[in-house]
């Protein structure tokens, strides 16, 4: 048992580090990170960096070389991730395209389409979004209503999507629609990719509880999509969606925000009832719990990496990451604000202020526990797919979609 690389892994790590060292700036500390002054500026910098990655042969590591990738092994992707995290490099904007749209295009698009659309994803020239969730279809995402009707070889799309990250700056989107409302829920879906500049698409930002707007509502009014942009057969949209949902569950990992280290360091400097907070037994007990959770996730990840290093499929331990880290973040954020006593209610927007980190966690954790599969859905997945327990009984099973009862929320 050790934490060492194999000789091949060490060689790859060295190569990755050397390229990064001559193309990017090392972080000054573990919490130092790239930050853009605005979304527009961030997008610009991400595109420049992605182009550089592509030219250096470090874009979309696991993709085929023909489409701009490197054909790396899973363990090489992990090593790259570890090395790149040491550098202050732009990030964001491209994950959905490269992580979700790319794989689905690779599986279902024609060769001609792959050659047209995949390389610009790898070079960062084009940005994609994912149009799945709807106001009445969140956890039960197969319950979407956005209508797709075929006339000749053109589809007409009407409806509304929600929680679409980056829709306002995306060039293309992957879209799941209902093409047959009289078929049972999972049977009447059809999947497309769509040009986000098509007439009839309207994007409106959603104001979140934090006041920010990272997501959108996307309205479709008589939007035309050629049948050639259909991915998978008519009525097979659920099967196609699962490809990306699986990728999403892998992509949404650790919740970012204050963790054990921040809470520990806060407790060691903060006065609580005339003593340092760290000397308070209830504080120590909480800190110990968070340390054990953080450590458990860290070593679960090491177990995953070890499996990849042996060329094996990782065990189910990765399915616990988001549940544990989302809840931990919410508790730590609450603790951080609680340490300020009555002043913990005061809002500060000061950049880098310790307080603002806990405020961000206070809002963010509430969202993380929902995004990319709620805690409850993830527990269903663990019990059904890992432990092999039966599905819950479904009131809508086998019913034509348009006869399924709906509520008013």
């Amino acid at each position: 048992m050790d934490f060492n690389d194999t000789p091949e892994e060490a060689k790859f790590r060295k190569e990755a580090y050397e390229w990064l060292a001559s193309n990017a700036e090392l972080k000054e500390g573990p919490k130092d990170s790239w930050r853009a002054s605005s979304e527009e500026e961030g997008l610009k910098q991400v595109k420049v960096w992605q182009k550089k990655l592509h030219e250096g042969g470090w874009a979309c590591l696991h993709w085929p070389k023909t489409y701009g990738g490197r054909e790396s092994t899973p363990i090489e992707r992990v090593i790259w991730g570890q090395e790149v995290s040491k550098f202050k490099v732009p990030g964001g904007y491209l994950e959905i395209g490269q992580g979700m749209a790319g794989p689905v295009m690779m599986m279902y698009a024609t060769e001609e389409q792959k050659e047209r659309y995949l390389p610009p994803l790898a070079t960062g020239e084009e940005i994609w979004c994912q149009l799945f969730s709807e106001p009445a279809a969140g956890s039960d995402v197969a319950g979407i209503k956005t209508k797709a009707e075929l006339d000749g070889d053109t589809w007409t799309i009407n409806g509304q999507k929600v929680w679409t990250s980056g829709a306002h700056f995306s060039d293309y989107g992957i879209l799941v629609t209902r093409s047959d409302p009289s078929a049972p829920k999972h049977k009447g879906l059809t999947f497309f990719f769509v040009d986000m500049k098509s007439p009839g698409i309207e994007v409106k930002p959603i104001k979140q509880i934090s006041g920010g707007a990272n997501f959108n509502e996307v309205y479709f009014t008589d939007v035309k999509i050629p049948d050639s942009q259909r991915l998978g057969a008519v009525g097979d949209g659920w099967k196609v969606s699962l490809t990306t949902l699986m990728n999403e569950r892998l992509a949404v990992g650790d919740a970012s925000g204050p963790d054990f280290e921040e809470a520990f360091s806060l407790a060691r400097g903060q006065d609580l009832n005339g003593k340092l907070a760290i000397e308070n037994d209830s504080v120590r007990e909480k800190l110990a719990d968070w340390y054990c959770q953080q450590s458990g996730l860290k070593y679960a990840k090491y177990r995953n990496i070890s499996a990849l290093s042996r060329g094996e499929t990782p065990g189910p331990q990765s399915s616990i990451t988001k549940i544990v880290s989302g809840n931990k973040l919410q508790e730590i954020a609450n603790f951080g604000l609680d340490m300020l006593d009555s002043a913990g209610i005061l809002r500060t927007d000061e950049e880098g202020a310790e307080q603002s980190m806990y405020q961000y966690g206070f809002y963010g954790a509430a969202g993380i526990r929902i995004a990319g599969g709620t805690d409850e859905i993830l527990k269903n997945i663990i019990s059904e797919q890992v432990l092999g327990m039966p599905q819950d009984m479904r009131a809508d099973k086998g019913l034509p979609f348009n006869e399924i009862p709906t509520g008013n929320k």
């Binding site: 048992m1 520990f264 060691r268 120590r284 007990e285 110990a288 458990g296 070890s306 269903n380 327990m389």
Partner: protein, 367 residues
């Protein structure tokens, strides 16, 4: 990265598991619980024959000289099967005390017997219903003899070699006492888990020899043992999760398997989360123990806290999943519930280990 047990170690684990299943270890735990014997002598002699007690003892002292990773996988299986033997007292505590703090002649006199099972060791530490500290241990050593009373000594009534904590006037360290020495009174004590025997031991000017140790060595012995106890707790926790699932799948209510209710599924998912966190932390402990890493105090406390939590969660929710049947004497759920308490109590409470964890992190990262 190779943060996994090797194929050989996994094979050893498999052998241990199959052996304990074949020998119906859980049923034997029930027999000890219901009967007069302090432990299952037949299972104990088979465990010795398998070489498990000799695993980490160096070859020059009659051991197998394998490592602690091997001992960890065995511990997990003993925990899973509730093995009713003095293994933890003799191997994780007594043998470890002598391996780490014994002089050459003490090693030669005791380790071969502990490896071959001829000797059974126990660790006598607690004195009152509060956590033992260097300040409150009143057992005393002077002029080659030891006096004072220890309580809740696991396997105290069956051991013939005691490792005892006592104060020699300048601090608390570890002392070796033979059960045949003069001035020892051993009184069996009834416990919440009668599948593991406990006793109080009164020493009165009892001849004892010193293990070269001070209070920090007592803590270090507890850290080493904590990793191994954690693996027993991990095995027990996973067994409870498996039992709960198995029962839920076959139990029908309201016309369907109760395993299809989200209330039960989410309970099982919570158990799974606790077990996976504990397993990952136990691996961290195993790594630290086997490499004598400076992180051992942190790793030991982390896996101890995590595995205690997992076993607690799984053993109580296993009863809950079984409903009324889980509360019967007939079902095995209570055997695990009892063992969970026994293992949690054996080397100190959860609050103490949490405090130790934060203390070790403070020391590792001085401001």
């Amino acid at each position: 990265m190779n943060f996994e047990f090797s194929a050989d170690q996994m094979q050893l684990k498999d052998i241990a598991r199959k052996f304990l299943e074949k020998e119906e270890s859980v049923k034997r735990a029930r027999n000890v619980l219901e009967g007069e014997a302090s432990y299952d002598e037949d299972l104990w002699s088979q465990i010795i024959e398998m070489g498990f007690t000799a695993t980490a003892i160096p070859e020059e002292y009659g051991g197998l000289g394998l490592g602690y990773l091997e001992l960890c996988v065995i511990a997990e299986e003993l925990g899973r099967s509730l093995a009713p033997t003095p293994f933890s007292s003799s191997v994780y505590l007594a043998s470890e005390a002598i391996i780490n703090f014994g002089d050459e002649s003490q090693k030669q006199s005791y380790l071969p017997g502990l490896a071959s099972g001829e000797k059974i060791g126990a660790f006598a530490h607690s004195e009152t219903n509060t956590s033992p500290t260097e300040a409150n241990i009143s057992c005393s050593f002077s002029g080659g003899t030891l006096s004072g009373t220890k309580i809740a000594v696991a396997d105290g009534d069956v051991a013939n070699t005691f490792i005892v904590t006592a104060n020699n006037g300048s601090g608390v360290g570890l002392y070796l006492v033979d059960s045949t020495a003069d001035g020892i009174e051993i009184e069996p004590q009834t416990t919440l888990d009668p599948s593991r025997s406990h006793a109080s031991i009164a020493f009165s000017n009892t001849p004892a020899t010193e293990l070269k140790s001070d209070w920090s060595d007592v803590l270090s012995l507890l850290d080493r043992a904590a990793v191994l106890f954690s693996f027993e707790q991990l095995g027990g926790a996973e067994a409870c999760m498996d039992m709960a699932k198995e029962y839920a799948m076959g139990r029908y209510a309201f016309g369907r398997s109760i395993a299809s209710f989200q209330a039960i599924k989410h309970k099982l998912a919570d158990m799974f989360i606790a077990v996976e966190l504990a397993r990952s932390n136990c691996y961290y402990g195993a790594w630290a123990l086997s490499t004598n890493a400076p992180e051992l105090p942190t790793a030991a406390a982390t896996c101890r806290v995590s595995a205690s939590q997992a076993f607690h969660e799984c053993s109580k929710e296993n009863i809950q999943t079984h409903g009324g049947m889980g509360f019967t004497w007939e079902f095995d759920c209570h055997l695990y519930y009892r063992r969970c308490r026994q293992l949690a109590a054996n080397i100190g409470s959860q609050s103490i280990w949490k405090d130790k964890l934060i203390g070790s992190l403070e020391r590792a990262n001085q401001i």
